[in-house]
Symmetry: C2
Subunit: 436 residues, 2 copies
């Protein structure tokens, strides 16, 4: 039987080039999160299904989760998202930990999706969460993390934006202004989630199925026109929104923050029927070829209650590696990483040089250098071509003369300079190679 060489459907093989690219993204995530003093964490790849049933959306549980029964009859799932795990872990330490708790992780997640651009069955997701922060400031910090990350890749406000809404506002408008019950409100949320993907006619058709009165339909459409902080603030003031001063304080603090230039108010962002209870947002790519959200998140007040713990408000976001990479490629922000970057290709031209080469390699590695040893006697005429083909800038060689004199010859192929060193003089050899 011949086995397939392909990876499982919707999953990726990361060959060294792809892995360097992935590491480049992850390093930026790590550096950005830690620049805000977020601490790393991780949980298991598998959790009991109950955890997801308690908090994840229905579509995810019914259609997308990888679930199975283990050999001990436990009903488990491969993690499809990280937030339930974060909540479970925070619940363990919520009482004694000093607040706010700032955490990040970059887990791999699996969802049973139909593979397509931007969607795969396995992806990695940068998760950033803050728990127990004062209202508004936690939201703003998390928005600052996501914008700083994209800026660190060289992205500008011409390339991406952050669309933001507040579910407390949406709930007030639905419940008090349009005056519908919670079931209708639920259905209006669903319409909003779809509203960007459909034309006006389809929107009106969906709306008329949920709202029969013309006045309520008009109120709903009026809401969908509130596409700036100024418009929504004026509207809320005109409709006696009781939390208007908190919202104005948020907008004012946001305008002082580093995220300010990227954020706009968008009534069509509600983030489905997830666990969000306050601010919700999506980071979007302004490039016409790459229309998916790059990241999404929001505030959730009640995640710890399923563990019988007192409420501890949290705000977080998730950013997928696939959508991020698509974004960076669209805007030509992804560096070329075809070759590894090593310091020296170390070779010997005679069998007598082998022991010397091994000893030299160890000493250079201890100095922090990346040393590729050619295994076996190297033919001189192939040396430079081989080294160049592998992306080396320096070649070190131990030939007959070098063995006799206990020396080593080092050549920088880029600057075309060459020097022979005493083999004991590791310091000078290291300096020569580091300059290269």
């Amino acid at each position: 039987m011949t086995l397939s060489k392909k990876p499982y459907k919707g999953c990726r093989d990361f060959f060294p080039k792809e892995m360097r690219e992935r590491n480049y993204l992850f390093e930026a995530m790590k550096t950005t999160a830690e620049s805000f003093a977020y601490e790393p964490f991780d949980g298991p790849m598998v959790e009991e299904v109950e955890l997801y049933k308690a908090k994840s959306g229905e579509e995810l549980i019914n259609e997308q989760i990888y679930e199975f029964t283990d050999r001990g009859n436990r009903h488990v799932a491969i993690r499809p998202e990280m937030t339930p795990t974060v909540a479970r872990m925070v619940a363990q330490i919520a009482k004694q930990a000093s607040k706010p708790i700032r955490w990040y992780s970059i887990p791999n997640l699996m969802r049973y999706e139909k593979p397509q651009r931007g969607r795969l069955r396995e992806h990695w997701q940068f998760n950033v969460d803050i728990f127990g922060a004062p209202e508004n400031l936690g939201e703003i910090e998390v928005l600052s993390v996501v914008s700083q990350l994209l800026e660190s890749f060289g992205a500008t406000k011409e390339m991406f934006g952050i669309q933001l809404n507040d579910r407390k506002i949406v709930d007030y408008i639905f419940n008090e202004i349009i005056a519908v019950d919670s079931e209708i409100s639920y259905r209006l949320y669903k319409i909003i989630d779809k509203s960007k993907k459909v034309d006006r006619q389809a929107l009106e058709k969906m709306t008329s199925e949920v709202l029969t009165e013309k006045s309520k339909q008009d109120a709903f459409y009026e809401y969908l026109e509130l596409d700036s902080f100024e418009k929504v603030t004026n509207y809320l003031k005109g409709h006696n929104y009781p939390r208007i001063s908190e919202f104005e304080a948020f907008v004012s603090k946001l305008s002082n923050s580093q995220a300010s230039e990227f954020v706009e108010y968008d009534p069509a962002i509600v983030r489905g029927l997830d666990y969000y209870t306050g601010v919700v947002f999506e980071v979007f790519d302004k490039h016409p070829d790459n229309k998916r959200a790059i990241a999404g998140g929001g505030a959730y007040a009640n995640l710890l209650q399923i563990f019988n713990e007192p409420a501890l408000p949290g705000i977080g976001f998730g950013m997928g590696d696939v959508t991020l990479k698509d974004f960076l490629i669209s805007h030509d922000l992804m560096p070329k990483m075809d070759h590894a970057i090593n310091d020296v290709f170390l070779t010997y031209l005679t069998g007598d040089g082998e022991a010397m080469a091994m000893s030299m390699a160890k000493q250079l590695r201890m100095k922090g250098l990346k040393v590729e040893t050619h295994l076996g006697v190297m033919k001189f005429k192939k040396l430079f071509k081989t080294a160049e083909g592998k992306g080396h800038r320096n070649v070190a060689l131990i030939g007959e003369d070098e063995v006799k004199n206990n020396t080593i010859t080092v050549k920088n192929m880029v600057e075309r300079k060459q020097e022979t060193f005493d083999a004991q003089d590791i310091e000078s050899i290291t300096n020569f190679l580091k300059q290269g």
Copy 2:
């Protein structure tokens, strides 16, 4: 309903302290592998079960694998080991890639184990493999990687050793000297695998069940006494081992290598019934409290054949994060990582300072500093205690005077020095903080 806060059985939650420890191990693995010019790779968390059936041991498949059928009726498994994935990926590029191919990865793996010291259901494993290397030199390089990694943590030859054998030798002794057929040989391999865990009486009992002739039993025990390179070499010479010159060349090259001081010959290492075909080895802890192998590996000649590709010999090893950490703790080599290391705790003592603090935080982060902003107005009398509790060395504060004068006061709590800077002078503030 109240959900459990505990992780799934046999899996770990990595809180920030544990995650810093994990990252410390992974950074050392990455640095060591790259110092030998090994390149990173990764594959999917899930593979089709057929891949493991073709190559993994029976026990793993029948008792330990996490397998299930996906929604599209594919029979899949969470990866229990990385070697089949490496082989699958190398098979894709074997023809065109320049040799040797040097790869490493640090995947999480799952096995359905009974959790106990050193064994968990989910663990991470450092995998290092070289394909297409000249015989002996590939083996020696891989042994050098594993010994250099442990040395990089401060481990010495008093703390660990590498027990090595060669299955070609074992096969020769079984087939030609003891002269048994392949079924008996298979059963002797199983006895050897257990021989270190049982006493002499139990060993003789197991052996007598497999070998009925006294002379064959004695030959088997004689083999088990060959506990040095010198003894096994002399024995093989006396028994006309046809590959004796290759073996002597290997021992000689090994003695020149950086791994030399750690490696000993051990007839009781055969690495079960895995895919190994040549040299096999285990890294063992010399501390009496920690008896499990830290790492194991060997040479395998035929892994690509299941993909209908020409043979490409490989040598590799795997090292688990659990056993490595146990080793480092046993020898007091694990540094304390209770706190994150941040550069500054940035605070404002009046609401007017908030916008200034946000702007300052952004600028310092852009300079590469790790800045924890206190969210909300800080009470001066709590400032230093809070900062110390979080492990900060520097505090920056913006009080009334600082707002008025557009300055910021920075205090290094360790060296007890304090300075007030112009808020525009990011360069000087950065220098002050980096010195601290």
